[in-house]
């Protein structure tokens, strides 16, 4: 079964990237996590995302387009990256979710991937 594991972090985590005292610990933790994840042999796909400020969002309301620069004020935690894993059970993926640095600072979400029909 395939599962998607998504890492959500508050803006304060992204700010650590700009703090010379914290950037090493921040990067060190994530790099180690990603390496361990790849070593597990479970990874089907995965990427890290550039900070929310590099992104934009689109909404259409009453037929009118709304385009907004990130970060999006109404969101407290922002998607920072994801993996798609091929895993024997949800339990295994939850174990990996617990190890993600985002679990201590934000939220790590695990969702089964819908099977394609035909």
């Amino acid at each position: 079964m395939k599962y998607m594991i998504s890492f959500f972090q508050p803006m304060s985590e992204y700010q650590r990237l700009e703090d010379p005292k914290q950037v090493d610990a921040y990067r060190g933790a994530w790099t180690a996590y990603v390496e361990a994840m790849f070593a597990s042999g479970l990874v089907v796909a995965g990427d890290g995302l550039l900070p929310p400020s590099a992104g934009a969002s689109v909404r259409i309301r009453d037929g009118k387009r709304q385009v907004q620069d990130g970060p999006f004020a109404d969101t407290k935690e922002h998607l920072g990256g994801y993996f798609v894993l091929e895993a024997p059970s949800m339990d295994v993926v939850l174990e990996w979710a617990a190890r993600a640095p985002s679990s201590s600072t934000g939220t790590t979400e695990v969702r089964p991937v819908m099977e394609r029909q035909g």
Binding site: A25, A29, A32, E35, M90, A98
Partner: protein, 426 residues
């Protein structure tokens, strides 16, 4: 620990003592009442529902009519009434269990001033929860729910499983106990050691979960709950039975581990490994109690896994008295433990002890002998290897192991500690 247990002095002593006493009493009654009802009724789920309903009616009745002279007897009567009502609905009136319960119902109305004592059937409940016919992976969760009354939501957090999935597994296990009519009796003497071992295993699993993870309860963490269960098992088993040796062994083990609880985190909540902990701050009274319990176990001359683990912890605690860690002795104890119960944890512990007692090379050799699949995602293996490689001066290789360990670490305090270790090797 990341859960940052509140320092004991955080609230006024008396209030804290009072709160704990109230919680302990509630837990004692819950477990006793449920065990008694489930034992008589042979249906754990039905007993749980009836007891929950009784607690709910107490919340309206007691403030209105005052707290009864014997709250337990009141709850028991209410829960039995609920069970009988449910049985009547299901037209089970001819069921022998119903007849027994009705008979006792009458016997129990002895008057408010002379409340009958409720027999303690919790040991039988522990045995049923760890019955060989029940999937071992659910033993611990069943005990936590039935004997301690923890919610599936809390247990799921400790086990790191989806709460809905755990709730379903619990329901299935209870249905199996009911439908297969598993015996609620104490096991025959011949099967006692095996059955006791299953109970102790489940309690120990609760303790390691509590020690390694963080349980989200308002009252106490899972390690305390496990200590309570270990004390209960020790108290309820006949003291002189050989099977009691391991129950005492487990209790001793947990007491030794708990005696060092206060020193495992520094002032800022940072992780402090065992060898850097201030041994002068370990709880001497608790270590003493642990030692006495271990001696009582040894007197029964029936060695076992938990007594060995307790002896290892006892050796670590010697540092508080002599200033030295007796690594040779620890390595010898681990060798016995690994022969008896070669768990991943025991094998890693043995490798580190051998590395300290003899040489890092010998310790590393033991680590390399372990099964690749078992250690790939086992964080302590990578920490141990990094540590022994660093002792040997192989800094780059040691650093790589620490980095892998960082990626497998859940608690931020431990992760920060390992990040510092890795950095120091750059």
């Amino acid at each position: 620990m990341a859960s940052a247990p509140a320092p004991p002095a955080a609230e006024p002593d008396r209030a804290s003592r009072g709160r704990r006493a109230a919680e302990a009493a509630a837990r004692e009654s819950y477990g006793r009442l449920l065990a008694y009802l489930a034992y008589r009724w042979r249906d754990i789920a039905a007993a749980e529902d009836a007891l929950a309903e009784a607690f709910a009616s107490a919340l309206t009745a007691w403030p209105r009519d005052g707290v009864p002279a014997s709250p337990d007897a009141w709850l028991m009567t209410a829960a039995k009434r609920n069970l009988l009502q449910a049985a009547r609905h299901a037209k089970l009136a001819a069921d022998p269990a119903v007849t027994i319960l009705i008979g006792e119902q009458e016997g129990m109305t002895a008057g408010p001033h002379d409340p009958p004592a409720i027999p303690d059937e919790r040991l039988k409940l522990l045995f049923v929860c760890a019955h060989p016919a029940i999937d071992p992976s659910i033993h611990t969760a069943l005990m936590l729910q039935t004997v301690l009354g923890l919610e599936a939501k809390q247990i799921a957090a400790a086990f790191l499983v989806k709460p809905a999935a755990l709730a379903q597994r619990l329901v299935r296990a209870k249905a199996k106990i009911r439908d297969a009519a598993l015996r609620f009796e104490e096991p025959e003497p011949s099967e006692l050691p095996q059955r006791v071992h299953a109970v102790l295993e489940a309690i120990y699993a609760a303790y390691t979960l509590g020690r390694d993870g963080a349980l989200d309860t308002q009252s106490a963490d899972l390690a305390d709950e496990a200590l309570y269960l270990a004390q209960l098992a020790r108290r309820l088993l006949p003291e002189q039975a050989p099977a009691s040796a391991e129950a005492a062994g487990l209790l001793s083990l947990l007491l030794f581990c708990q005696s060092r609880h206060a020193t495992r985190a520094g002032d800022a909540g940072e992780f402090v490994p065992l060898h850097e902990q201030d041994a002068a701050r370990w709880d001497r009274a608790m270590m003493q109690a642990a030692n006495e319990t271990l001696w009582q176990a040894a007197a029964l001359k029936c060695a076992g896994r938990f007594q060995l683990e307790a002896a290892i912890q006892s050796a670590h605690c010697q540092r508080a008295f002599t200033g030295d860690v007796p690594w040779q002795g620890i390595a010898a104890l681990y060798a016995q433990l690994a022969a008896r119960a070669p768990t991943v944890g025991a094998l890693v512990g043995q490798a580190v002890a051998v590395g300290e007692a003899h040489s890092p090379v010998q310790g590393l050799a033991l680590l390399e002998q372990m099964d690749d699949a078992a250690i790939a995602a086992y964080q302590p293996w990578w920490v141990a290897k990094g540590y022994l490689l660093a002792r040997q001066g192989e800094r780059a290789a040691a650093r790589e192991c620490y980095v892998r360990a960082i990626g497998l670490t859940e608690l931020p305090a431990t992760r920060d500690y390992l990040l510092r270790r890795a950095q120091a090797l750059e």
